[in-house]
Amino acid sequence: MNFVGEHLLPGQIGHFAAILAFVASLVATVAYYCAVVNKEEPVRESWKKIARWGFFIQSIAVLAVFSCLYYILYNHFFEYKYAWRNTSRDLPIQYLLSSLWSDQEGSFLLWSIWNSVLGIILIRTSRKWESPVMTVISLSQLMMSSMLLGIFILGYKVGSNPFMLLRQAEENQVAPIFQSPDYLSFIHDGNGLNLTLQNYWMVIHPPVLFLGFASMIVPFAFAFAGIWTRDYTGWTKPVLPWGLFAIAILGLGIMMGAAWAYESLNFGGYWAWDPVENASLVPWLLMVAGVHTCLAYKSTGHALKSTVFFFFLAFITILYSTFLTRSGVLGDSSVHSFTDLGMSGQLLIFMGAFTIPAIWLMIARRKEIPVLHKEESTYSREFWLFVGSLVLLISAIQITFTTSIPVWNKLLDLFGLKKLFNLDEMAPPSDAMFHYNKIQIWLAVILGLLTAVVQYMRYKDTPRRVLGKKLLVPTVLSLVITLAIIFAGGVNYTDYGAGFLGAIYLMLFATVYAVVANVLYIISDQKGKIKAAGASIAHVGFGMVLLGALLSSSRKEVISLDKMKMLSQDIFRKESKQNARENIMLPLGVPVEMGAYHATFVGDSIAPGDAKVYFKVDYERKDKAGNIVERFRLYPNAFVNSKENALTSNPASRHYLHKDIFTYITATPPLKDKTAPANDTANYTSHLVAEGDSIFFSKGFMIMRGIEKDPKNRNYQARQGDLAVGANLEVYTQTDDHFNLQPVYLIRDSAYQYSIEDTLAPLALQVRFSKILPAENKIEIKVKEADANSDYIIMKAIVFPYINVLWLGVIVMIVGTLIAVVYRVKLNKGSVKATAARVKEKV
C-alpha cells in the first residue's frame, strides 16, 4: 500500500546514520583495542589510523541522526511517532529542543553527541594515552548507538529507533486507521510535549547534565588505561583536569535540575531526595572523592588504589543510575523516571561491559599497583583528604542503598529469598526527606569541618603550632557568626525534636566555618591570587551551598495555611499537625491574610497566542499602624484544559535578596460555571446558638454577641406594634478584619413572624434570624452562602528564605572548579613551571 503525504526520506537517512554510527563505533573500538595490544609499532600506528577514522565517522553519523530528528520535529511530521508523541503544532519553537530530549532515544543521542565531542578532544590532546582511553570511549559509543538501532537480532529487540513511523508502532499495527492510505489526513496534531517540560530550564538542563554524564567516563577511561597498559602512575597527571571538569559540569547540571524543580515546584522545592536526583548526585560525590585522593597521590604517593577505585565507581554508578531511571524499575517510587522501553537487558549489558573488566582488572593486578608502605601523619593533608573521601563514600552508599529499594525487591525475588523468609515487599521510607537528612546531616558536618581545616595542613606533616595559629582566627570568627545567626533566630526547626536541631546548629557552624576559613585562606595564604585559588573558591561555594540548603530548608514556611479550618475541625486530632492545611481559598476580591501579607485574587486574564491562564493575585503588607508598606502583584499561571477541568500550574514568585515568595494555583472552580447563569440553589443551614456561640462557614466564622432589642437593619423599617429583636453577629473572615451583621426577627400584628435577613456582599453571605427558643435560651440562625456564581482560586504560597545563598554558592563552586581546571591544564603543559608549582601545590 502506498501511503499519502508521508515524508520518509529524513527518517531513512536518520536510521541509516544510526546504523552507521553503530558500525563505525564497532570499528573504532576494535581498532583502538588492536592499537593497544599489538606489539609492533607500525602495526599499532595503522590500527590507530583506522580507529580515528571510525570514531570520526561515528561522530558525524551521530550528528546526522540528531539533525534528522530535529528536522522531523521542526516540520511536525506526525507520521513519525517521536514527533507525534512529543510535539504539537502550537508548541513554542524554543521548546522543540526539550521535546527532542524528552524521550529516552533523544537523551541517549544527546549523551552520544557529547561523548563524540569529548572523544575528539581526547584524540587531539591525550597523546600516548589515546589508544587505551579511546578504546573505552568507543566502547561506550558502541553501547550508546546500539540503544538507537531498533533492530531485531535473534528475536531480541536491540535499541529503540527514534525514526519509527506511527503506523509501524507495535500498538498501532492493527489499528484500522492505518489501513487507509491517506491516514495522515486524520492526524491533525501531535500529542504535545509534557507541560512540566515546557520550561526554559528544560532546554538547558539536559545538555549540561549529559555533558556531565559524558565527562565522567574520561577519568574512568584514564584509570582503566593505566592499569590495562601497566603504566600505573602516568595517567594521574592528565586525568586531573578531566576529573575537575566532570565535577564542575555534572554539579552544574544537577543544580540546574534543582533550579527547574524549584521554579516549577514539581518536587516541592529544589531538592526532594527523589531517586532521579539521587541517581546523579551519587556519581558526583564519588568523583569528588576520587579527585581529592588523586591530589593526595600526586603529592605524596599515597592513595593510588583508592583513586582508581573512586574513578571506577563514579562511572559505574553513572551506568547504574542510567539503569535505574530508564529501566522502569523505579516505577513505584518515582514519578520522574522514564517509562520502560523494554531495554532493561541492554542497559544491564551496558553496565556489565564496563563494570566487569574494570573490577576484574583491579583485582587481578592489585599487587602490581604501587603502594607506599610508610604511614601518613595525623597532621598531614593526605590523611584527612583520604578520610574525607571515605565520608563521601559513606554518603554515597547510604543514598544508593535507599534509592535501590526497588532493586533489592527484585533481587530478593530473583533468588527466592523473599519466599524463604516470608518477607514483605519493601517500600521507600514514608518520610523520605527526614530519612536522608538525619544521616546526611552528620556527614555534611564532617565534610564542612574538613573543608575548613584540611587546606591549612601541609602534605606529609604540619607543625602543630603553625596549624593552631592559622586556625585560630577563622575558628573564632566562625563561632561568632554562628552564634549571631542562632541568636538572631536564623535557624529554628523543631519539627523533629531538639536532637535534630542540635545537629542543625552543628552543621550551621561547620558550613559557616567552611566558608570563612576558605575565604581567609585565599586572602592570607594565597595572597589573593585567583588563578591558583580555584580549589579554595570552589570550597567557599561548596560551603555556601550547604549553608543555603540549611537556612532555606530549616525556615521554609507555607504561609497559605487555612487556619480557619484547622480551628473548626481537627486541631485536637493527632494528625492535624502533620497534615497542615496548606491550601487556601481566595474568593474574588476578598483580601485573605497570609503570613505578613494580605493576598487578594483580583481576576484572571488570557494572552493571545499563549495557552496559559494568568491569575492576578495582589499582595499587600501593612505595618502595625495599618499603612501599606509594600504592594506587588503576582501572576501564577496554569494550562487549563477546559474539557476535563484539569490544570497544570506554574508558580509565580516574588524574588528578594533574602527570600522568595512562591504562589501557585492548586485548583479553580470548574470553568463552565463562569459562563453558566448563576443558579442560586444553595440552601440555608440552621444553627442553634446561645450568646457567645460561634457559627463556622466556608470563609470564616461568626460569633453571636447578643440580642438587640432595638434593631437597626437597612432592610427593616420599624412599625408601630412590632415586636422586633436583632441578633448581633460579629463576622471574622480569614483576614483579620471583621464585619457586623444584624438580622432581625419580628412579630408583626401579634400574629405574623418575619425574619429580615442581613447580607455581606463580599463574602456572598446571607444570614437569617428565624426562631427564638426561649426554653433553651437559644436562637436559630440560618446561614446561606451563595457560592454557585462566586469566583475563586485555591492556592498555595511558600516562603523560601536565603535560597540565594545556595544559588550563589553553586555559581561560586562551578567558577572555582573551572579555574582549577584551567590551572591544572596549564600545569600539565608547562613542565618546568609545574615542578616549581608542585612544591606549593594546594588542594
Partner: protein
C-alpha cells in the same frame, strides 16, 4: 596496624551501622487489611481508583479535603482521605501509591503518587475516534 586500616575498619563499622538503622526506616507495601492490623503506622498501599464511587473535593467548603475510593490489590475498597488539594488529572491515574495509615474505616494518606498511563497506550484510543466506523479497507 596501619592507621589507614583502622580508619577503614571504623568506616566499615559506621557504614554497617548506618545501613542497619536505615532498614528500620523502610516502609512496606501493604493492603488495607494488613495496614488495619498495624494501625497507627505509616504504610504504602498500591491500588486502583474505584471510579464507581464518588470522589469528593469541594474547595468552597474545604480546600484541603479530598476523599476518594481505592481498591487495593486484594480487591478491598476503602475510602481514602487526603488533606490537600485534588491532584491534577487524578481521574486518569492508572494506579495510585498511597502513603499513610488506617484510621478507623478510612485510610488517611499524606502522599499520593499517581501512575498515569504512558502516552503510548492512548494512541489507539485517541486516533480511533477520528476513524469513521465503516471505512472500506
Amino acid at each position: 596496624m596501619k592507621k589507614t586500616n583502622i580508619i577503614l575498619l571504623v568506616v566499615i563499622a559506621v557504614a554497617i551501622g548506618v545501613i542497619i538503622t536505615m532498614v528500620g526506616d523502610f516502609s512496606t507495601y501493604e493492603t488495607f487489611a494488613t495496614a488495619r492490623q498495624k494501625e497507627g503506622k505509616e504504610f504504602h498501599v498500591i491500588g486502583t481508583l474505584d471510579t464507581l464511587q464518588t470522589m469528593t473535593y469541594d474547595p468552597l467548603k474545604d480546600a484541603n479535603f479530598f476523599s476518594f475510593y481505592v481498591k487495593d490489590k486484594k480487591g478491598e475498597t476503602r475510602k481514602v482521605v487526603f488533606n490537600g488539594a485534588k491532584p491534577t488529572d487524578f481521574e486518569k491515574a492508572e494506579s495510585v501509591v498511597l502513603t499513610g495509615m488506617m484510621d478507623g474505616n478510612d485510610f488517611h494518606c499524606s502522599k499520593i503518587l499517581m501512575k498515569c498511563p504512558s502516552k503510548y497506550k492512548n494512541d489507539q484510543v485517541v486516533l480511533g475516534k477520528t476513524e469513521p466506523a465503516n471505512k472500506p479497507l
